[in-house]
Assembly symmetry: C2
Homo-oligomer: 459 residues x 2
């Protein structure tokens, strides 16, 4: 019962590790590792800098390597696998579930993956090669083949006897699958029925034919939505002829949900969802540099727009002071809509049937807020110009910034609503590209509106 | 087997609904609703504008209201509950699990919640009042009381007989809990063992005493981490004396994971994670206005910084063109670090033991990128100034913007790393406040650095 304790003192474990490693005493570390479950070791590895990480990995019992690997995030796992010999890796993978092995092999180069495959025993290899033939992000890539199949014409008693002979059940088995002689799924029987029904009950009487089924080519995000919406623990995966190929379990679906949610969050900041929080400096700097470079291009574009109006600014330097306000507000308003739409798309809420309503609603919201904040900023700027005795027409300046504000808030919100739908249509991930494109639009439009109006009045 | 079909044609259902409602023919809608499962109806309601939503709700069979309510997101649920009489609501809630009833009642005013409670039958009421006494976001608020408890000194045979008399099992039961006479948990027995073991096996022989247990006061985010890390389907909840109070199941944990992930994503854009994608215009506009108002204050602060240097800009108007570049790059770099740290904190990766390393790593990354982009922008600005024949010292201008860039990238990244840890310490949610504070810092610091350096050279 000490498990929750272990979780609560994660930071103490890290402290202990740091101290032990600093003093060169490795025995307490080895003892700690022996006490911990594999998933906890994986979490510990994810929470430590690369130097410490390697020491922990070295101290780890060889037999536990596979189990720890399957719990690690892809990027860190990759770094350990690169240090392993194919034989060592094959040994580590031997006891894992098919779907976990597939997950790991899928990240390796074709060459190394083949070397490892050759070292696995024959039955394992055939199963894994088959599973590797499905796309990694499809139901086929998520599924396990460890289903328990039963025939319709038996009784609960017979099933119980069969299970006792079998001696164990795959993890997260909450249903047995009833199939015909060609493995076509007839339905499923909850194992709670096997436990609670009279042993003489025929299976045909308790089989649920309305069970949720997953086609093998279904994208994993759709699988996750079905599990989430219908509170499933497992679901059978079928080929196009309705034959049972395997099953998907909730533990793997939870990983999909987590990764998908992380993807939206991290992508909007230009990060990979698997980014290693404690990764190496050089690798991290390189990845970040790319995103900063893209951003530099977009902001240079915005600066060039200002450059077009340098003469106007030379006449009215107060405009320089007002420059950041309009693009910033447009960017914020647009990002709100963009985030809402990206979330709505990932939850499957938005499509052809309702995007018209959504656009109208967001447009109405942006006009209300546009008018409100245009009036507020116009009043403030009028007052500031008056107070500073700027020597220009206060009212014209107020109209300039108010008009630009209204225009840019509407532009930002409409872009935020339309962009992700458009990007998705041309197969670009809105979570990655949406924010950059949006802020470019609101920067350029904001500077154009403000300085364009100013040129009309003061140019 | 038509379930996955139903999911795939969600957009067709919406189209059908729209057409039926436009033409005033409600019979096809009613037929559609009868075919759909409650979770699908909830999803349909979440995907439609308020007007359509109300029509669907009216057409819904009264007996299904409770079941649909439990699948709806809080904000939309609230809007329906407000239209219901206490008696109607009590009827709708009567058949739901305790934790779902608690979830719904927790969102109501004390007054209405008490009215509904009084209308529930006595046993239900006592259980729910007890569950309501735990904080909503703790293990106590997540748990269900429908556990199956068994005694240690029986055999598998006895358990099987008991289960057959019981006749059913609570959903997602994967373990039976072994308790002593004072309900103190001894351990758990996987139901797969009950199925696969010889009926004569004593329970003491198959009880797992190392089972994961959840203290009733544990925050729900920690519960989610334990489930996620250890692939649990259910776990027992204990009071401080080790007595079994109930259990938490994966379906509720999945909701916690989804809400938590949504919270980070939506909060960073100043949205509530429950924001209704198809909400009413007035309510939406009001919520968004608050966030825009906060942003206006911060950007006015940045504008006032520029105002301090108006004289310098009047001398060198080219500075106005360069204004957006430095703050934008600092904001982007800072947001990357901020997002990474917020994600790391929510996964439990970051704490006292490793935040020092994290800060050093991010600092190193920011210096590398700072030097790189400082050189790039300095070269570009030198070229632009030369090409435009700006009449000022090109090298001084290049040094000004390069220096400001290096300074602001480092400032942004260090703020991105330190801010969330600091905000959390003073009990402010970093996901909500982090982004606003960060961009204020990078805007103010960026303008100060650029215009301050410029004043030194050209003032």
């Amino acid at each position: 019962m000490a498990e929750t304790q272990a979780t609560q003192t994660r930071q103490e474990q890290l402290q202990l590790l740091n101290n032990a490693l600093d003093s060169g005493h490795l025995i307490p570390v080895r003892n700690l590792l022996e006490e911990l479950r594999s998933a906890d070791i994986a979490h510990l590895l994810e929470s430590t800098p690369p130097r410490v990480r390697n020491v922990i990995w070295q101290l780890l019992d060889k037999e536990r390597e596979g189990d720890v690997l399957q719990h690690l995030n892809d990027e860190i796992r990759q770094s350990f696998i690169e240090q392993m010999q194919p034989q060592e890796l094959a040994n580590a993978l031997a006891d894992l579930d098919t779907d976990d092995v597939v997950d790991i092999l899928g990240d390796l180069s074709q060459n190394i993956s083949n070397q490892v495959l050759r070292l696995l025993d024959e039955q394992n290899r055939a199963q894994i090669e088959h599973a590797l033939s499905y796309p990694e992000d499809s139901a086929g890539g998520l599924m396990n083949i460890d289903t328990i199949m039963i025939r319709p014409r038996v009784s609960v008693e017979v099933v119980l006897r069969y299970l006792r002979i079998r001696g164990n059940m795959p993890p997260n088995t909450d249903h047995l699958y009833v199939v015909d002689s060609r493995d076509v799924l007839i339905g499923s029987v909850p194992i709670s029925s096997i436990l609670t029904c009279d042993p003489d009950t025929p299976i045909t009487q308790i089989v649920d034919k309305e069970t949720f089924t997953i086609p093998v080519e279904m994208p994993e995000t759709e699988v996750a939505q079905i599990f989430e919406r219908h509170d499933l623990v497992s679901a059978p995966v079928l080929d196009e002829n309705g034959r049972l190929l395997g099953r998907i379990t909730i533990d793997d679906v939870v990983d999909v949900i987590r990764e998908e949610a992380d993807h939206s969050l991290m992508s909007m900041a230009g990060l990979d969802e698997l980014e290693d929080t404690f990764g190496k400096v050089a690798a991290t700097a390189k990845k970040r540099a790319i995103w900063l470079g893209i951003n530099l291009l977009t902001v240079i574009l915005a600066a060039l727009v200002i450059g077009l109006f340098e003469k106007t600014i030379a006449q009215v330097t107060l405009l320089a002071v007002l420059l950041p306000i309009v693009p910033s507000m447009g960017g914020i308003a647009g990002t709100q809509t963009l985030t809402l739409v990206i979330r709505g798309m990932s939850l499957g809420h938005i499509g052809e049937g309702n995007k018209g309503y959504l656009l109208k609603k967001e447009l109405a919201v942006s006009i209300i807020n546009g008018v409100l904040w245009a009036l507020v900023i116009a009043a403030l700027v009028y007052g500031y110009s008056y107070y500073k005795d700027s020597g220009i027409n206060h009212l014209h300046l107020a109209i300039t910034i108010g008009g630009a504000m209204l225009f840019n808030l509407v532009t930002g919100v409409v872009s935020g609503a339309v962009l992700p739908l458009f990007l998705k249509k041309i197969n670009i991930d809105p979570a990655i590209a949406g924010g950059v494109v949006l802020t470019t639009v609101t920067d350029v439009a904001g500077f154009f509106a403000l300085l364009g109006l100013a040129t009309l009045f003061f140019g």
